[in-house]
Symmetry: C2
DNA sequence: GAAAGCTCCGAAACCGGTTTCGGCAACCCT
DNA sequence: AGGGTTGCCGAAACCGGTTTCGGAGCTTTC
């Protein structure tokens, strides 16, 4: 506008310093500065030092959008969360965001978060963020056995990484906690305590984790050389209410289980309710093991024995994998399976009979008796 | 590269459609298309329609970075959260993010979230996100009486909006819940029930909300024509533990309060512990009112009477204010004060004496007696 | 009927970077 | 000495938009 706009602007010093400012201050061209800062091999070491120094001195920070327009990368990872009523008061979200943010920051990336009210909304946001290139890729939490988000992004060739697995994972990078093995481990622990009839409350079959946990239960039975009995598998339960109902169903049989394994803690909380009604004391008359380690778990009486997940670490690992995926690594090489941590508290008890620990433990292993 | 690169690219159709594609398909220049889509007045209505139509048909989505480089706006709002142990299992975060995200989406903006481990970290992130222009402005939650973030951003001329107020709010846009009035309201309610000695457990004086709640307590006393008594104000408490300690201190006096008002629910939970120790039944021997409405509140026996905050709405309003601030509106015009909602549950009781409700209520208002 | 004004759009500059291309100088090798 | 590398950097194109400027064509005005 004004002929002396330049002077005015630099005088105010509110104007940001551009790559040209750095170049001018050194009598070089901006292409040299750019290549020097980005580690191109055709820049001499002495020049590179001078440039780096000048950039530092002038406080030059490249505009990420300006870079993005040419490089095609905004260095931002997308996260679309569909907040269920379940998750609201769980530390899950905070821990997860913390993990993602930390790993992203370390790599000089940022995290773009959006909340969705429905599946449709999720789709809309995925498309929009990718289309406008607000993000370079997505972390998809809570994967379904057959997940439409996967189809969409695979089709559109947008990088993504799953938190959890999916039935058809070709072209998918993922990170997951091995809850299958955890479930099997739980069955074996219970079997070792002498339990022969171990009930199971699954979590349905829509989410992949739910299916895997059911498979883990079966695998555990097989490993413990126990027969699978259909009447010991309750209807799926995801809430306290449903958990109580499921527990009532399998406990009210002629030959009830002496132990129950739950796919999720929330259902396990309901098992306490059902046990109370039936006059069973958990940890003594009924052993209980679950999975997730929600905060309520240790507040129960007796405290719930469960498997804990390091959510923060999950967020961090997922971020790392996604960034590598975006940079071009093959999805098949970007898969990690982490272990859940067994948290022994009171609810798994000591075996199918009442009484002090040691004794029972021995009695049980000899007799293999039932409650 | 290749002479026929253009053909190859359009054939693959994985190439994004640019403004040039739209222009070419209409035989116009890209400047016309740009102005048509952005509502410039020097474009005829017929042309505008044709352009809009073609853009729609071709699926044109402007690249937000490319726009940003010229307009200076990335349409992204920044949120840096320092997750305290307190907040982890509260729905606060989820609700807040939900509110921000929803309002941002509605305005076609996005939200960039980062978590910080410390104050230093927060500063670093504020600078980085602003410098690289990853965001256009910030929402600052949990404002301090004297908040260094405010100084930094005000100095750097980066738009921001506070969730909560601050001592010196010149140049600050903000949204807050009027907890001061809520506290005063609580005192008056208690006074109306006949209480003359109303204790207070404050939340310190570092956060602005804490200071305002203390002022509200005093204002309430004045309105109820009750004298302020220093011995009725306990040491600040932010946790259950601290709340219990504070409650013990003011209850173990020769002339203890018959009601307690807490600045935060977390401290109020501790009051239950202290009351139990002293053999006082809350809601009968001791009235209790608090503020925040954390999930545990309704699980207490009796359930805690408190003031609820609409966190989701707060996030949404803050976002709206910030966007307007970024667009240039004066900060002084961007200030909103919302009301907290009184949630009457069991803990506030019926007055300083024991007994059924109605009766006591009348006795009390006549005698003004103490427990 | 010519000057003036208005409507609408094309041409080109611009934003702040990245990347390609080409060429100068120095060095190496017969 | 001459030809071929090699190292290093400048010039310019490019990315995908936005914004300024100017001018063609039409209408209005006196």
């Amino acid at each position: 506008m004004e002929p002396n706009a330049f002077k005015v602007r630099t005088a105010l010093r509110r104007q940001r310093v551009t790559i040209m400012d750095v170049a001018d201050s050194l009598g070089m061209t901006k292409s040299t500065v750019s290549r020097a800062l980005n580690g191109y091999p055709d820049i001499s070491e002495s020049t590179r030092l001078k440039v780096r120094d000048a950039a530092e001195r002038l406080g030059y920070r490249p505009l990420s959008n300006a870079q993005a327009i040419r490089t095609g990368r905004v260095r931002s990872i997308g996260l679309i969360i569909q907040i269920s009523e379940y998750d609201r008061h769980r530390p899950f979200l905070a821990d997860f965001l913390d993990g993602v943010s930390e790993a992203a920051s370390a790599a000089d990336w940022t995290m773009t978060v959006a909340t969705a009210a429905s599946d449709t909304d999720t789709f809309r946001l995925l498309c929009k963020l990718a289309d406008e290139r607000k993000v370079d890729g997505f972390i998809l939490p809570r994967t379904l056995v057959d997940d439409p988000r996967v189809h969409l992004l695979r089709e559109a060739d947008v990088p993504f990484v799953l938190y959890g697995r999916t039935a058809d994972d070709h072209g998918c990078a993922w990170f997951d906690i091995d809850s299958e093995t955890a479930m099997a481990d739980a069955v074996m622990r219970l079997a070792e305590l002498g339990h022969e009839r171990i009930g199971f409350i699954p979590a349905g079959d829509r989410y992949m984790y739910a299916r895997l946990r059911s498979e883990g239960y079966r695998a555990g039975l097989k490993a413990a050389k126990l027969p699978f009995a259909a009447e010991l598998v309750a209807p799926p339960a995801l809430s306290r209410q449903e958990g109580a109902n499921s527990a009532r169903l399998i406990l009210n049989q002629e030959n009830p289980p002496t132990a129950i394994l739950c796919a999720v803690d929330r259902a396990a909380i309901g098992v306490y309710d059902a046990a109370k009604e039936l006059g069973l004391q958990i940890g003594r008359d009924l052993s209980l093991i679950s999975y997730d380690d929600i905060p309520e778990a240790e507040l129960m009486t007796p405290p719930l024995t469960t498997y804990a997940v390091d959510t923060r670490r999950a967020g961090a690992r997922l971020t790392d994998l996604l960034i590598r995926r975006i940079k071009g690594e093959a999805p098949e090489k970007l898969r990690e399976l982490d272990r859940a941590r067994f948290v022994a508290r009171g609810s798994h008890g000591f075996g199918p009979s009442a009484g002090p620990a040691k004794e029972i433990n021995e009695t049980v292993s000899k007799s293999g008796g039932k409650a």
